[in-house]
């Protein structure tokens, strides 16, 4: 057991993975000497050498595309995308190649790649540094899309992602990099591709992931003070989506609020709402309420507080669910 920030937990998880498999390589912009702009890879080039921690040219398509070739050669590349919106130059490689090669080759070729993407807002950054593009990847079959919300999960999920023979897009909630928490380095206790119920409750289910899980914990407390019992679930895996865990909860509570930073329009909340409504139609006391980003570009940082779902907006979502 150790108290670690999520950043340090990721670093420790990467180190562990590199120690246990010499085929694991890290690739990315500024991840070597600098240790990455968020220092997630700090010290790793020093300890594992320039052959295992590669500072790459400034080209996301290049990072992912050469990662595909390295995979074909038997390596397990862990590619860092510096900020969320900078994944788009690599979108073609990810959705037409990384996602599809296993299927294309009738299972002969595996792409055990991990694409690490710090995502989301709330740190006062300029444009393109605060986006939540997870739905754009989850829509494509062939990619696993996951996101840890705690240091413990970060430590374990990054290792499981690297060990997975399928490509994993790994979204790191960047404004929680400095969040501290207990990390049990002995055992994970969880399945990476399943949701976890973080808090049991009876009146309404709150489903979220990434940075908003911390906010969700505050919501649980604030709601309890108002006499509302909230069941909080961290989906952890965006694709595949653990609908069973969500449905079981909603059958119990009868109400569901989904919160994420990505725009609600075609965001994961839409899929969860559609799926859970189909599964739990007769249990729902209220329509699924979505709390998310607006259908606008991500605003300048002085306005991001008004854009990002926060305790108040989620509480409001809960009220709307309870109003039925």
């Amino acid at each position: 057991m150790a108290q670690l920030t999520m950043a340090k937990a990721l670093n420790a998880g990467l180190r562990k993975a590199m120690e246990s498999d010499p085929k694991v390589l890290l690739m990315g912009e500024d991840i070597g000497k600098l240790g990455g702009v968020f220092r997630i890879t700090e010290g790793l080039q020093k300890d594992f050498g320039e052959q295992r921690v590669l500072d790459t040219p400034l080209s996301e398509a290049g990072i992912i595309g050469t990662g595909v070739g390295l995979s074909a050669r038997g390596f397990r590349p862990v590619c860092e995308i510096q900020f969320d919106a900078f994944v788009y130059p690599a979108y073609n490689q990810i959705v037409t190649q990384v996602a599809k090669l296993h299927y294309r080759t009738l299972g002969h070729e595996k792409i055990p790649m991990v694409i690490r993407i710090p995502f989301g807002g709330g740190i006062g950054s300029p444009e393109h540094h605060s986006e939540s593009p997870e739905a754009m990847f989850a829509h494509h079959a062939g990619l696993r899309v996951i996101s840890p919300a705690t240091p413990h999960d970060a430590y374990w999920m990054i290792q499981e992602a690297i060990a997975d023979d399928d490509p994993v897009v790994f979204f790191e909630p960047k404004r929680r990099y400095w969040l501290k928490g207990e990390v049990d380095t002995e055992r994970s206790g969880k399945d990476t591709y399943r949701a976890t119920v973080l808090q049991e409750g009876s009146d309404v289910t709150l489903v979220t992931y990434g940075a908003l899980v911390s906010t969700g914990l505050e919501v649980v407390k604030a709601a309890a003070e108002e006499g509302t019992s909230v069941e909080l679930i961290d989906v952890r895996s965006i694709s595949p989506l653990d609908v069973d865990t969500l449905a079981a909860s909603v059958e119990k509570t009868g109400r569901l609020v989904v919160a994420h930073e990505a725009p609600t329009f075609l965001g994961l909340g839409a899929e969860i709402a559609a799926r859970v409504t189909e599964r739990c139609f007769y249990s729902l006391e209220a329509p699924v309420i979505r709390v998310g980003g607006y259908h606008t570009p991500y605003p300048p940082s002085r306005m991001e507080e008004a854009y990002l779902p926060d305790l108040d907006r989620i509480m409001d979502g809960i009220d709307r669910a309870l109003a039925h």
């Binding site: 059958e251 119990k252 009868g254 139609f281 007769y282 249990s283 729902l284 006391e285 329509p287």
Partner: protein, 72 residues
């Protein structure tokens, strides 16, 4: 789960249609709400164990005689 039909008048001794919360599709829930009926007291005959619209109407018939029981 067939349940003995409880009289809607019998305020005590609710009979649950299923072990958990009562099942019903949203418009039936609405109708129940509009009539001030607790769905948990309505015997459910739906194939999924849900209270059907007919179940509710029958319950309301039994309850109000004239059907004005829940008129708001």
């Amino acid at each position: 789960p067939a349940t003995p039909a409880g009289s809607p008048a019998a305020e005590s001794g609710p009979v649950l249609a299923s072990p958990g919360r009562p099942l019903a599709k949203p418009p039936v829930r609405k109708l129940a709400k509009d009539h001030g009926v607790d769905l948990a007291r309505v015997p459910a005959t739906g194939s999924r164990g849900e209270v059907t619209r007919e179940d509710l109407l029958a319950y309301l018939d039994g309850a109000g005689g004239g059907g004005q029981a829940g008129a708001v």
